[in-house]
């Protein structure tokens, strides 16, 4: 009869059942440990690199998030622009102007005329 060769058994068939069970248990523990270390490492590194903004891919450029008055600032709305002082200044100025425009815009609530109640007994 052909021996099953599914990976788990291909090296394990020559050891005793107790040693095999212990081996599979050890495999599970090590695998879970690796996954935990990977997850923890990802979190730690992501937290560690967060403040270092100078390490962003565009180290020679600055990401400018363009805020449109009509739409909310979504990640897709961000743009990468050259970090020349002029463009940065212009973008900041445009964003400030847009905010000022929004602040000055009339509110949607319109005062309703009093409802005339007709009749009355």
């Amino acid at each position: 009869m052909r021996r099953p060769n599914d990976g788990r058994t291909q090296h394990a068939h020559r050891v005793s059942a107790a040693r095999r069970d212990a081996g599979f248990r050890l495999t599970s523990v090590v695998t879970v440990g690796l996954a935990a270390v990977g997850g923890l490492g990802t979190g730690l590194i992501a937290g560690a690199v967060r403040p270092s903004a100078d390490a962003s891919p565009a180290s020679t450029t600055t990401s400018i998030r363009v805020v449109s008055p009509s739409t909310s600032a979504t990640p897709s709305a961000s743009r990468t622009a050259a970090s020349t002082p002029a463009s940065t200044k212009a973008a900041t100025k445009a964003a400030t102007k847009a905010a000022a425009t929004r602040a000055a815009a009339p509110t949607q609530a319109v005062a309703q005329p009093p409802v005339a109640t007709s009749g009355g007994s």
Binding site: R3, N5, G7, R8, Q10, H11, A12, H13, V15, R19, R20, G23, F24, L26, T27, V30, T31, L34, A35, G38, G41, T42, G43, L44, I45, A46, G47, A48, V49, R50, S52, A53, A55, S56, P57, A58, S59, T62, S63, I64, R65, V67, A73, P75, S76, S78, T80, T88, A91, T92, A95, T96, A98, A99, A100, R102, A103
Partner: protein, 209 residues
Amino acid sequence: MTATALTSLVAASTSAGSPLWYFNRATGVVCLVLLTVVVVLGILVRRSRPVGTAPRFVVAAVHRNASLLTLVFLGIHIATAVLDPYVTLNITDAVMPFTAGYRPLWVGLGAVSLDLMLAIIATSLLRERIGVRAWRLVHWTTYACWPLALAHGLGTGSDVGAWWMIAITAACVFAVGLSVAWRINAARTVPEPIAISGRSSAIRQDLLR
């Protein structure tokens, strides 16, 4: 006041990156470490020398599980790179080498490494169907996959200059170099099993190792 708050928000967004970008960088480092673990275990399990007190099938199983785990983190690494607004990458750039608009050479090396890894894992899962010889032939490309991944990280990694990244990279290179030396040394002392002919004999020899 609203204008001031918005201005500071814009300023903050210019100085801080997206969380996706941080996760992309972090998963890249974790992928390199996990891939190193996979390669080292793969080298150690190949030879008939015991690896410490652990049975060989344990090392083989951990090697296989770690490779699948690497694939999971690699998926997160690619997904965050594609979704992140900082760099304009799409899923095709991650699979097709040297087509990316952003650092095509270094991203392309990562794509080649990914393709090789997918081929290695696919042939490992289909090992029973394709035979040991074909599987082993593809598996040899691991020796290209790992250096390509390392070069991808060194070329395009944002934290290459950081002390901790230098330490991690050095440790990975040292671990793989040491295991390769161990294997070469073992090859001198333990003769390579001779594949007689045909698939069944190759499988039988592999089982007895």
